[in-house]
Symmetry: C2
Amino acid sequence: MSTALDDVLARLDHGLDDSLARLFALLRIPSVSTDPAYDRACTAAAAWLVETLSGLGFAASVRPTVGKPMVVAHWPAPDAGAPAATAPNGAGRVLFYGHYDVQPPDPLELWDTPPFEPRIEVAEDGSRRIVARGASDDKGQLMTFVEACRAWLAATGSLPVPVTILFEGEEETGSPSLPAFLAAHREELKAEVALVCDTSMWEPGVPAITTTLRGLVAEEVTITGPDRDLHSGLYGGAAINPIRVLTRILGALHDDRGRVCMPGFYDGVAPVPDAVQRQWDGLGFDLAGFLGGVGLSRPAGEDGVPALNQLWARPTCDINGICGGYTGTGAKTVIPREAFAKVSFRLVGGQDPAAVRDAFHRFVRDRLPGDCVARFENHAASPAIVLATETAQMAATRAALASEFGTDPVLMGCGGSIPIVGQFKRDLGIDSLLVGFALDDDRVHSPNEKYDVASFRHGARSWARVLAALGARG
Amino acid sequence: MSTALDDVLARLDHGLDDSLARLFALLRIPSVSTDPAYDRACTAAAAWLVETLSGLGFAASVRPTVGKPMVVAHWPAPDAGAPAATAPNGAGRVLFYGHYDVQPPDPLELWDTPPFEPRIEVAEDGSRRIVARGASDDKGQLMTFVEACRAWLAATGSLPVPVTILFEGEEETGSPSLPAFLAAHREELKAEVALVCDTSMWEPGVPAITTTLRGLVAEEVTITGPDRDLHSGLYGGAAINPIRVLTRILGALHDDRGRVCMPGFYDGVAPVPDAVQRQWDGLGFDLAGFLGGVGLSRPAGEDGVPALNQLWARPTCDINGICGGYTGTGAKTVIPREAFAKVSFRLVGGQDPAAVRDAFHRFVRDRLPGDCVARFENHAASPAIVLATETAQMAATRAALASEFGTDPVLMGCGGSIPIVGQFKRDLGIDSLLVGFALDDDRVHSPNEKYDVASFRHGARSWARVLAALGARG
């Protein structure tokens, strides 16, 4: 005798092609948040999600902000005022978060096919993957949850727990509109736990729950010297060159042992607890494979720090972009007026984003020659996150994933940043569960981004199981 | 009773507007040599010059090369074979050199009017200037000589000395086709002295003869790390970042006292002879005005070296361009696959261009982490030049300039490079005279390049006098 869950899982399996078609429709919308040229596409993506969720039976709507619009959807539809926090069976409401915005697709010439024309590619090992910008980060991931809800509602007419869905459109640009939105909708968004599907599996076939995230500070610095471009013969030697100043400053950010040289940078960095370190050491991380997969052979972080710690538990500084002077074909012997760089820092433990920003500004200003001026622009500032691992929802989720994959999920750290998790805790008082089905070779933020069909399929089935497990607790 | 020279000078004065119209026609041709997109314009500029010189009575023709075409013109037209080296009056042939190619106009948005639509601008002090890319470097300058020849031929039917004109189209890109052309046309181009009009006056109203030039080595270096762009959260800390590597290497090129750190770089740099140093010290160089004119206040070269020496007699290293990663609007937390920089060195004395290139390659490779690869492209390599000051032609030229301007010309160094001068000596055995009428505020290589109408007018009159003075020596 099949249970409701069996029926839901069967529907998901039979409806896979239709669900892929729906994901493709969302992937075709070029919802790039970092560039105003794509504003209308972002609006279109939000509208598509509202229409889709409404069709399932959610009370869904677009919520404008000063930036990109939010999508908010509730099941069951609220009678009046805020939605109920608890289901009739006593199970608490879950708040599912995702983001419909994607990274810019450039450099376009490195894509095998256009980034917003999704397609199924068959890999050498016969596995099928969805290729498009946003396939993994985050549209494929968020649609696993939407499809799980669809299958539950089609099979039983209801969801095992009350569900609120929140999709934003600015995650790739630091979610500037989110704090004010959360503050203004605290009652409407209250829930027992937040579910976030923006992380990875440990490896194909082995699920994971992410329990630590790094923070992020992203800055842009522009150095100006002469008041115009100069001829490097007529002025070279006497005139200060902003590219020389900028490279000298950036070149001094790290020492020869891979440490960041900004005073105070490591304040708030805590050692990894022994139990966690033992667990990480026992994971059998294939460093050679991880680096080899991108053409590298040796870790470039701090001397003497294990590679997983370099990725999950140590702060970093990276120059994401640099530009100045003549960069076209051939030579132009110019001393440019200015040069700029985009610099970001990944934070861990108790590092304070504002302190890191200040340290960076001081580091630059302390090294500026008298004739040069520096100006800064901030693009992101969020602290690191450590999540609880001993909760009832965590136990339920671990069991659901073990059932789907036939192996216990790994509790892993993540080198990336998901600021929403900190904001949910700080602004809404809600803890988060981070379960995702992406893979390290998904090429997120790179050309030819992909998401395995197996991730999409098992992801939706996993959420169907997680919803059942959370509902059974009531 | 007026002399032939008086007649010539009067014709130049009366025909100024017509001569400006001819210069404008040449300025309208966007003959940018550094970018193949402008190839046809370069060919058009060469054709215009041949047509113009033919119309004056020169035997002129376009000479194709593997790169941009040369323009060669002789007066008088050779009867057969090579042109005569000596005039009937015994005066030796002069070889006038100029270049019809110009620098790229970017950044376009900083031009007040389109760079290839020349116009007369009236400055605050009432002086008139020609504004266009190439107005000063080098079209305005070369046309001063062409107009002097036009006036002589119109007034007398002949020139005081035999004249060969050589215009090339690749000076801004290191003149790659020139060595082979000189070698192949040694007989045709032989002359007693070369005249080059590509330098500056000491200040408005004070003419100059340039006696030293710096050499130039221009390189492009590209550093590659991972085999694709990476997400800086997922890979940051473990993956090497080519921008970090590049900035660290470039940032190490100079020490805190402004010296270039490449081993062997200063080999061949000679101290300035006492007599020359005394002359330079007596020039009353207005450093504050020179730097203040471009928004700067302090010289950025080697500590303890006088500013004129930093510009004329010391070698330099400048980064002309740098690019890597994401440089568009907003943030993108990427570790890019590669980054590149365009680096050039100005040479003095006996510094060997090939040795400087090798030193730069070694400097980069010695600092490359194991996973990174560097590749290089060379755009220019020419040594410094020191010219003789005690020749008969020099004395004749000094006198001619003193007559025109009412003050003796300054014997000055130049921070820029004119490789042709070295090639004339090495390949043709010809010494050069460098007389030009540009000014420091001409904004060469920058937006809104200009050439004073007074420079154009006095320049043409000066060449008319110089031709007379050189012809009188026979």
